[in-house]
Amino acid sequence: MTARNAAAIASALVLSGTLGCTSFYEIPIETPIQPKMDVSMFQRVLIAGFISGGTEDVDANLETVRLLRSQLRSRSSLRVIEAEALRLAELAREARTEPAPPPSPGGAADGQQIAPVPQLPQQAQPPSDQDPIKIRNEKDLERYSSIFADVAFWKKIGEEYQGPLIITGTVLFSPLATAGYVPVEREYFDPLGRRRVMQQRQYQERKGFTLQPKLIYIDGRTGATLYSETLREEVLYPAQTNTPALSSYFELMDKLIPSFLNTLSMQKIRGTRVLVK
């Protein structure tokens, strides 16, 4: 956007010559973008916790809870509830080991259960209590994600905090490695000693991370899912650079935060326009 604006301003200046006596005034504007969700019925928000996976270098559950809370505190009108982040993967596993009640015919028995808890196929069952929880990819995440459809579970959590908006979901933060040709800029000096920059393509091995959060918004009064969205960003560095996983996590989250905030609150995009006389 900034580069585009710069180009727009530059072209506006060039235009000044061609438009002759036309008077124009560049003016900064802030375009309001309406939120994706109507959260007017909630005063409070609980970032409950996430089922996280991928690299073990970063606790994506705790980091995501902390980051989203701090963003909402400063950039949303909702009051953020301070509570310990839930270990959802463990809770999902525990729920699986408990005997399940017999399924009621027709699904919703009490009229409030919007999405009945799906019965997982045998091969997708979470590992037993003895195994440590290891979530490496999306397929692993799926084993635990039935917890998001457990209306009774979320209703109970909601009751504990007087029915707030609950934000939960999954976060997959995985290492990524790739190799291929990438554009690079080469600097050189011409015979007259002037500095020149040349575009080239160079074969490079690169590594980085991919961040894929699925954010689920639940009504704490009913336990029903109101909205969900899956976001994805990745970052790659030359293989020889050693970037800590945590700083990559924040770099990627920085790109995703505007979209997250725009789900709950109005965001303003700064730009410039040209007023003409």
């Binding site: 585009r4 072209s11 003016i27 994706k36 326009r273 040209v274 007023l275 006389k277």
Partner: protein, 129 residues
């Protein structure tokens, strides 16, 4: 009715003789000149208040200007910007389209409209995701 026919005839004559916009406006008669100059006053005042951040007042002035002279492209362009600033995207799109339709060769109007579309489309993509 007679007056209108006269105006159309004089405008056509002016076009046939390769007249400029200003000459065309002159051919349209003093009444049209008056409405353009009144509209221009509103546009200028609107710019001043917009520069002070009073976008509602600016929109009101430019709405007045386009009522006075619906063929005034700059007034439509400015009105579109005011609507955009207020988050009224449907009205902004209509006003931008009107400005571009009136002056298709005006690159400033086109540029403002392109920037508006970029933001609007991005917001739409986010909503649809």
């Amino acid at each position: 009715m007679k007056l209108r026919a006269l105006f159309v005839a004089s405008a056509l004559l002016a076009i046939a003789s390769g007249a400029s916009t200003a000459e065309l406006r002159a051919a349209a008669g003093p009444a049209r000149e008056d409405s353009r100059s009144e509209a221009k006053e509103q546009v200028e005042f609107g710019i001043k208040v917009a520069q002070s951040g009073l976008w509602k007042e600016a929109a009101y002035r430019w709405e007045k200007a386009v009522k006075l002279d619906p063929t005034y492209g700059a007034a439509w362009n400015n009105l579109a910007i005011a609507y955009e600033q207020q988050g009224n995207f449907d009205k902004a799109r209509e006003a931008y389209e009107k400005a571009v339709e009136l002056e298709p060769k005006n690159l400033l109007f086109r540029q403002n409209y392109d920037l508006f579309k970029e933001i609007n489309d991005r917001a739409k993509r986010r909503r649809d995701r």
